[in-house]
Symmetry: C2
Subunit: 261 residues, 2 copies
């Protein structure tokens, strides 16, 4: 690999055959050397889980000038950990994850393997971006995203990101109108509302399947959901400090409670 | 169940037999009616993963006055979702998770199934607390925690918590001195530093096992790690908004990038 070109580590949570991943690899190879590590299986909703008790395998399945592809039996977080420590011949200049088939805006980030990979990279001091499309269609059209992805990626490669901050980028689904632009915004406070369908198995035992709908009660103009619903790209600077800082002072009265055994 | 007593939903990620869970159930039963739902297996490091493709079973294994115990084959997040929607006869007044065998302070929250259960509850509008002990010992001593857990839980039951905020409570390991008190603090920016050990399997194929150490470069007096290292209980008000708000304005120049297809 050419040490003068940036090294870009690519991963995702939709598995190695996903169309969004292929698109992302194609775009990233125009910008630098690429190490691709994808999961053997689809890892949607695996969140930040990692394999602390399992054997983790990573197989080199393809190698070309400036490109290596590995497949891994672990989670997206395992992929990032293993790749930058063991599989890359130098420190990656950038980690990108996606393009996810499905939106990772609002509170859905909590469940996402795509975003977990990005956050994991960020926690380890790597510069990282997650890309997701607001469509679950496995054959979704990604071609309208080229300029935006290349532009954002080049800017991040050139300027870096603040310490402890990664980017969560979501794209609206292709429609008749071209996308209107980019909005830098906050994560909306919306959520999945799940419901459980009851079934009975072959032994007469009850089991449940999880299903759900996405409910939005926070689509203000400064949110990622507003941006997507209005045909903008949403860019959310994302961190892994979950502290509700505004609550620390008001809750100081908890310090008056006894802890005597 | 007595509808005048608070209903407390209890879960964890260490499985149904964990000593910390038994302790928490015993304490909660002095405060209200309890529905316990624990996982069949240990679910450490499962983070916020949930079962979108699997059958979820929940078996009632014990029922007494004011107490029901279920076991579930899902993740801690599945347990919370299923329990408040399908297994509780009324809206739980409180969800508690733990007492985890192992610290969930600093950045380790990202991996924790215990904290994921708490965050999931919070996302669904439930009041929720996670309790963890800074010891991985399966036979750890939890008896020094009774007063603190009862005090914090009673205060939360009486006063509630701000919308979108849950509590992440960690306890120092028992030592010769009694605990000094409670600190309301922020999540430290520390992290797990992992390394991979290489092995070869029976077919000569290389695989990795993940191991790691906890590294702390942010043990300032306002952090949870400082509190724990100084024999205080740490209470971190925790939210699920991952936006790095301070970065939104400085990054507005991303909006100048082209998105033309």
């Amino acid at each position: 690999m050419d040490k003068k070109r940036p090294l870009i580590l690519v991963t995702n949570d939709d598995g190695h055959a996903a169309k969004g991943l292929c698109k992302l690899v194609t775009l990233m190879r125009t910008l630098g050397d690429v190490v691709l590590i994808s999961t053997d299986e689809v890892m949607s909703a695996k969140s930040h889980s990692c394999s602390i008790h399992n054997r983790i395998y990573a197989k080199l399945v393809r190698e070309e000038l400036g490109f290596k592809e590995f497949r891994c039996n672990g989670t997206p977080v395992d992929c990032v950990k293993l790749a930058y420590q063991k599989l890359c011949d130098r420190w990656p200049d950038l980690v990108v994850s996606g393009i996810n088939h499905g939106v990772n805006a609002a509170t859905t980030v909590v469940y996402s393997g795509t975003i977990a990979a990005v956050v994991e990279a960020c926690m380890n001091g790597l510069t990282a971006i997650g890309y997701s499309l607001f469509s679950l269609d496995p054959d979704a059209d990604f071609d309208h995203l080229d300029t935006a992805i290349l532009g954002i990626t080049q800017k991040v490669l050139a300027e870096g990101l603040p310490k402890g901050v990664c980017l969560n980028v979501n794209f609206p689904k292709r429609c008749d109108e071209p996308m209107k632009g980019i909005k830098v915004c906050r994560q909306a406070a919306c959520r999945w509302v799940e419901y459980f369908k009851e079934f009975y198995d072959e032994n007469g035992e009850c089991y449940y399947n999880l299903d759900g709908t996405f409910e939005s009660d926070d689509i203000l103009p400064d949110t990622d959901l507003w941006a997507l619903h209005n045909n903008y790209v949403s860019v959310v600077p994302t961190c892994f400090d979950w502290t509700a800082h505004r609550c620390i002072e008001p809750m100081k009265d908890y310090e008056l409670l006894s802890v005597k055994p």
